[in-house]
């Protein structure tokens, strides 16, 4: 029996424009990491392949390591290089 996790994935600024969407629900096997999510996105092909292999990521509003495990219902944002101020 393998479970799965459903991840609410958010895109902003240049990533949002690149993909033409700001949000996707992504289903991953239980035990998936942030890095697995990025790989799954990039493997969709098309514009998704232009995403960086190791973008900055926030899980539930906090910057997180690529090796972090994801849980069902997590909100994961791919964060382009920032330019506030």
């Amino acid at each position: 029996m393998y479970g799965h996790v459903e991840i609410r994935t958010l895109f902003f600024a240049s990533y949002k424009e690149l993909l033409g969407t700001g949000e996707l629900q992504v289903d991953l096997p239980e035990g998936a990491t942030v890095s697995d999510l990025v790989s799954a996105l990039r493997s969709r092909g098309g514009a998704f392949t232009a995403l960086p292999t190791e973008p900055a990521v926030a899980v539930n509003l906090t910057y997180t390591d690529p090796t972090s495990l994801l849980s069902d219902g997590d909100e994961v944002a791919l964060i382009p290089p920032v330019a506030g101020g």
């Binding site: 902003f12 910057y63 944002a77 920032v82 330019a83």
Partner: protein
């Protein structure tokens, strides 16, 4: 009490100054980030700031909390504006008051530098030739790699004893 906000309406610097100040404070400092008319040799007509608003609110609050602990003052207000801004408009306002000027300068500088490092905000410039481009920005610094608050600043959860 510190104050932080991500706002869409114009920032009124005079109002931000009313959020700080106390009888024990001999220094009140206001920093404004303003949209300038050029960048990298191109003429800029205006900018649009986008944000991940919920996260930006948290990160700004964390940054100001770090500055407050390091500088030993909780009289700090930081506001970042989002949306369409014209040249000359204020994008960020940081106000700090403290008993002496050094702590206010340290806290203000720390806050603007950390905003630039890790606040989830993005800027698209509109050029006078009609083109638009996202400003390149920098990869955000993750929390575990965030540098310590300014060296030499007093470490204080409690108010500082009043020294020279």
């Amino acid at each position: 009490m510190t104050f932080t906000a991500i706002v869409r309406e114009p920032i009124d610097p005079a109002h931000v100054l009313t959020l700080i100040g106390a009888d024990q404070d001999g220094a009140s400092l206001l920093f404004l980030g303003v949209v300038r008319d050029h960048n990298d040799g191109r003429s800029v007509g205006g900018v649009r700031y986008d944000t991940y608003e919920e996260m930006a609110a948290e990160v700004l609050s964390e940054i100001v909390g770090e500055a407050a602990r390091s500088a030993g003052t909780d009289r700090i207000a930081a506001v970042h504006r989002i949306g369409e801004l014209e040249v000359g408009e204020v994008s960020v306002a940081i106000a700090v008051s403290s008993p002496h000027r050094a702590e206010a300068y340290d806290a203000s500088r720390y806050i603007i530098e950390e905003i630039k490092k890790r606040l989830p905000v993005w800027k698209k410039e509109r050029y006078s030739d009609g083109a638009e481009e996202w400003v390149e920005g920098r990869p955000p610094t993750a929390p575990n790699t965030v540098p310590a608050p300014p060296a030499g600043a007093p470490q204080a959860d409690a108010p500082q004893a009043d020294g020279p």
